[in-house]
């Protein structure tokens, strides 16, 4: 039974009844309701418990300012910490209160209220500091409540994030925003309008006003219709909060009800030429004892419930205000049949306009509310003169209060615009903009509908260079205020809340000031006032007023805290968009990925986002058995691997030779066409950047191949040097990583497989020697065959265009079958290179070693006057410090594996390390574990025994040359 629903009126569809659950109980609401309005319609008053003290709370506001009733949504739309006032009611919705267990009526945490005096501001900082906050944090967070994150992704639907661009972005579809959109839209420029409510109209939805002689909502409907007819008005979003204002006019919008029903929420990233902030204003509360009891509500919220949702939030109300806006509220409520016991106005003089609105309602001027009766629901209020004299009790079930209006300056402040204190309005208003944006209407303190229309139109006309239109007539409402920062009267006892969401009271702020936290930012952190997703919507200005009052300084000298995004809570899912599950990380495939998968390859990322086969297990082989089989094939017969991911760049120009001489440590310019050379690149500070192979294709044409992982780094390095240091050099770089795939046939029988494939290239030892290449045909496909080796065996790298790769691969497997060919994954490649002592960036090369440490002094050209990193290597080595040098290790027990990365310490004792194990593999040629390590003075310690120190053991190992197979390299040169 919706006992509080008015029989007529409201922006709800009474033909569409919606069933929902709240804290396990079934209720009914209507389409057009928010969860909050539906709860009020069902007379659910106790809806929450507070964050710290677990005090009973009800619904306070009607929009994103709601500080008290936070809910966790369950089921399809599971999400945490939503304000009940912004949750659009849906059929079957299930929600529950946060901060209380098992229910707000019976909350175990309410025991905290008994100890409230013991947990003042800063309590956590003072108490839970030894041995460290992190010890206490999980338990405190649980006790403090706030909802947990959903445990599973949404059952159906997905999130989406999308980019957009606009000439004019308008935030808010109230009178100011709509008027701005009309003016901007009529010029033909691209307009984007986003509004946080489910329908346009803004504050007009909550009130009973006329525009152009008609009900205001008719003007709204006409305006929306006109905007929809404009093709240049690219977006008119409802239920869409602009939650962040970033640098360079980038704004974030969270759209909660996209037209595509598969999309749960959409996050827009809008780059706007000009931004018009028509975000309206938020009413602030008054600060008096027990101003948080269920039934104490912002006056404007009650007006919204009556007018927009046709819900009576109570039967008999007391209205407490220090300004004029509450008088219209009282009038609207009175007209809807709510008994208004009195308007309590802290001002001595009430303007005539306001008195006229009140009609017969009794007005108590110069008076304040000094107390509330009723803990779980308001039963009455104590009203007295401002100093507390003449206290009298008034029965009521609703206490409406209005402490004035604050422009919703959150986005303006996020954009780095400054705020100034306005004495007349007793609040902060936008001052100087830092980006191309302007605030209009309530957002700039123009609280009347007429001035909202005017400022909206002016801003749009100015942004688009168009004429001011004729504005529709609106009855000008008057607004005046006399600030009342807190009720300070004799007899006023009990907690008076400044920030209801964070449970911050006047006493907390006074304590913070007494303890020396007197900067407003310090007060914020010490008390937590205005933090979290409240972001000071209702409480901030009262906190600032309280500080000013206590310190005896002007309020503008206190200043505001920094508003931070998000303005309203946003799902992480919406920010991430469709980037989840299989695309959560980027991935790259080579053309034989399907073949690999069909062959049963175990695939994973192996650098630079390439998904490669780690190994190809057969039947019930273990990992090690599969890797051993692949290794043995290469060492004894033949194997083939897909080397496509290696970075490849074509370099062209008259200065390529000298450029390569500059970026490689060794001499490249002397290469002849058809030859290739292994090379090392350093960074300018002498560290190893990459190793790779340079090939000379022609007089001015070269190809450089890089390690897979560093292709992009090397590309950037080359372009940076060419464009910033040597712009006059004639060198053009073209990435061709994906123009050349390769199948590398390697092993003693590689030449026989090549013969079986058939080629017009002379592949004999003499015709195509080691470190040379030739273009021609292989298996009938146009190919480039390169004689390099990363395994230590005779190797033919057959490069083809990707469109031929799958063909080449299948023909190679077929031609190799009689020779026992095996596809080889990256695990076997790792073993094969370790057996040969070939270095691997990321293993042996860790940002401290240089070429000399790796036993590669030969690659550091002495002929060249200069190259990148030369001076730095020399400078570093001149200190004659002890270096860690590459060695081979044989574990004393040949069957004992050493974990990669394990430290070496003298004698295996608990002493500073003298090195580390960089790689350890099962060698198929030695039939035992072998390792590579970086060891202090390693080159002179061959034959010594060293010790690996593990947590509970030590492993002895003998030091040797870092090569376990074919030390003279005869096989790869064969």
């Amino acid at each position: 039974m919706q006992v509080r629903r008015l029989p007529t009126g409201g922006r709800i569809d009474r033909s569409q009844s919606l069933a929902f659950r709240f804290n396990g109980k079934e209720y009914q609401g209507f389409s057009g309701d928010t969860l909050a309005s539906a709860l009020l319609a069902n007379n659910v008053r106790l809806t929450a418990r507070s964050f710290k003290y677990h005090r009973p709370r009800g619904i306070v506001g009607s929009g994103p300012e709601e500080p008290a009733t936070l809910v966790e949504l369950e089921g399809r739309r599971a999400s945490a910490n939503q304000a009940a006032t912004t949750v659009r009611l849906e059929e079957g919705m299930a929600a529950r209160s946060v901060n209380c267990w098992p229910s707000p009526g019976l909350d175990m945490g309410a025991v905290n209220q008994l100890f409230a005096g013991l947990i003042p501001a800063g309590f956590y900082y003072k108490t839970f500091k030894w041995p460290g906050w992190h010890l206490y944090e999980p338990a405190i967070r649980k006790a403090a409540g706030l909802a947990g994150a959903p445990v599973a992704p949404p059952l159906d639907g997905h999130f989406e994030a999308v980019h957009a661009h606009a000439d004019v972005l308008i935030v808010g579809a109230g009178p100011a925003g709509l008027m701005a959109a009309l003016v901007a839209g009529r010029t033909g420029c691209r307009v984007f309008l986003a509004d946080e409510r489910t329908e346009a109209g803004g504050s007009l939805l909550d009130r009973r006003l006329e525009i152009a002689g008609k009900p205001a909502l008719e003007w709204v409907a006409e305006s929306v219709a006109e905007l929809k007819s404009m093709p240049n008005v690219t977006h008119l979003l409802q239920d869409a909060s602009v939650w962040a204002y970033r640098e360079h006019n980038l704004l974030m919008v969270n759209e909660r009800s996209p037209a595509n029903s598969n999309v749960l929420e959409r996050n827009w990233r809008i780059r706007a030429g000009q931004v018009i902030l028509a975000t309206g204003a938020i009413e602030r509360g008054l600060v008096f004892p027990d101003n948080d009891r269920p039934g104490v509500m912002l006056a404007s919220a009650a007006q919204a419930y009556v007018n927009r949702f046709a819900v009576k939030p109570g039967e008999r109300a007391v209205v407490f205000a220090n300004n004029d806006s509450a008088y219209a509220v009282a009038a609207d409520l009175h007209a809807s049949g709510i008994d208004i016991a009195a308007i309590v106005d802290s001002r001595d003089a009430v303007p005539e306009d306001a008195r006229d609105l009140a009609g017969e309602i009794p007005i108590k001027s110069g008076s304040v509310v000094i107390g509330i009766r009723g803990k779980r629901a308001v039963k009455g209020a104590t009203v007295a003169e401002r100093d507390g004299r003449g206290a009298e009790k008034v029965d009521c079930d609703l206490l409406l209060h209005s402490g004035g209006w604050n422009p919703t300056a959150h986005l303006f402040s996020q954009s780095r615009g400054s705020l100034r204190y306005d004495d007349t309005l007793a609040t902060f208003v936008p001052d100087k903009a830092a980006q191309a944006c302007v605030s209009v209407g309530g957002a700039v303190g123009e609280f009347s509908p007429a001035s909202a229309l005017r400022t909206g139109a002016e801003a749009a006309a100015s942004a688009t260079g168009s004429e001011m239109p004729d504005l529709p007539a609106v009855t000008e409402g008057h607004y005046s205020i006399a600030p009342l920062w807190r009720v300070d009267a004799r007899g006023a006892k009990g907690k008076a809340f400044l920030d209801i969401q964070n449970d911050v009271t006047v006493d907390d702020v006074h304590l913070a000031l007494r303890e020396g936290y007197d900067n407003v930012e310090h007060v914020k952190r010490y008390t937590t006032g205005g933090m979290g997703f409240d972001q000071g919507k209702t409480g901030n200005i009262n906190i600032i007023g309280t500080i000013a009052l206590q310190k005896g300084v002007p309020i503008q000298d206190v200043g505001t805290t920094t508003f931070r995004p998000p303005y309203t809570p946003v799902s992480f899912g919406a920010i991430g968009g469709i980037r989840e599950e299989s695309v959560v990380l980027p991935y790259r495939h080579t053309p034989i990925t399907r073949w690999n998968l069909d062959r049963g390859a175990f695939m994973y990322e192996a650098g630079a986002r390439w998904r490669r086969p780690g190994y190809f297990p057969r039947d019930d082989e273990t990992f090690q058995e599969a890797v051993n089989r692949e290794c043995r094939a290469v060492r004894e017969d033949v194997g083939v691997y897909d080397g496509s991911p290696l970075g490849k760049f074509e370099l062209k120009g008259g200065d390529v030779g000298r450029f390569l001489d500059h970026i490689y440590t060794n001499l490249m310019s002397t290469l002849k066409p058809g030859q290739c050379r292994y090379g090392l690149m350093l960074t300018e500070d002498g560290l190893i950047l990459d190793d790779g192979v340079a090939m000379r294709l022609g007089k001015h044409r070269w190809m450089v191949s890089t390690s897979t992982a560093h292709a992009d780094t090397v590309h950037g390095h080359m372009e940076e040097l060419l464009q910033t240091q040597f712009p006059e050099w004639n060198v053009y770089v073209t990435p061709v990583t994906s123009q050349w795939n390769n199948a590398t046939v390697c092993g003693p029988k590689a030449r026989e497989v090549m013969a079986a494939l058939g080629s017009d290239i002379d592949l004999s030892h003499k015709g195509l020697p080691f470190m040379s290449f030739a273009d021609g045909q292989v298996a009938g496909l146009p190919a480039r065959v390169v004689r390099v080796s990363f395994t230590g065996e005779l190797s033919f790298e057959i490069n083809v265009a990707p469109r031929h790769m799958r063909d080449l691969w299948e023909r190679t497997m077929e031609a190799g079958e009689p020779f026992g060919i095996e596809p080889v994954g990256s695990e076997a490649s790792h073993v094969l290179r370790v057996e040969k002592g070939f270095l691997s960036l990321g293993h042996e090369v860790d940002g401290t070693v240089d070429a000399h440490d790796l036993g590669m002094s030969w690659i550091m050209s002495k002929k060249k006057r200069d190259f990148v990193g030369k001076r730095s290597v020399e400078l570093r080595r001149r200190g004659n410090e002890i270096r860690r040098e590459l060695v081979g290790l044989l574990p004393a027990n040949p069957n004992e594996q050493i974990p990669e990365g394990a430290p070496l310490t003298p004698g295996g004792e608990r002493r500073p390390t003298e090195g580390l194990v960089t790689a350890c593999v099962w060698s198929v040629v030695l039939d035992r574990w072998v390792a590579l390590a970086l060891l202090e003075n390693g080159k002179s310690r061959h034959g010594e025994t060293v010790h690996v120190r593990l947590k509970n053991a030590t492993i002895a190992a003998d030091v040797m040359e870092p090569v376990f197979h074919d030390p003279d390299g005869l096989r790869m040169r064969s």
Partner: protein, 85 residues
């Protein structure tokens, strides 16, 4: 997410660029400069509070290495000082 002016493409989203670091003095001749000069070249990176001259690489766009003056306090892209190159 900044909007970075590319001399070839016009304003583009920061996500299309790779940061190239502040503009440093030209690389000294490694045979002429002394150790202190070389170390200073390697390790002294401009880090002002205010406008900084820096490189960006339009790696996902036209490939140009470009420079901007960016105010480190605000991310505003500003005019460089009149005596700047």
């Amino acid at each position: 997410m900044m909007l970075i002016p590319c001399p070839f493409c016009g304003n583009r989203s920061e996500s299309e660029f790779a940061y190239g670091g502040p503009v440093k003095p030209d690389r000294p001749d490694s045979h002429v400069t002394d150790d202190e000069g070389w170390v200073a070249f390697l390790t002294t990176v401009p880090n002002p509070v205010g406008p900084v001259h820096e490189h960006w690489w339009h790696v996902k766009g036209c490939g140009a290495w470009l420079t901007i003056w960016r105010d480190t306090r605000t991310h505003d892209i500003v005019e460089g000082p009149p005596d700047a190159g």
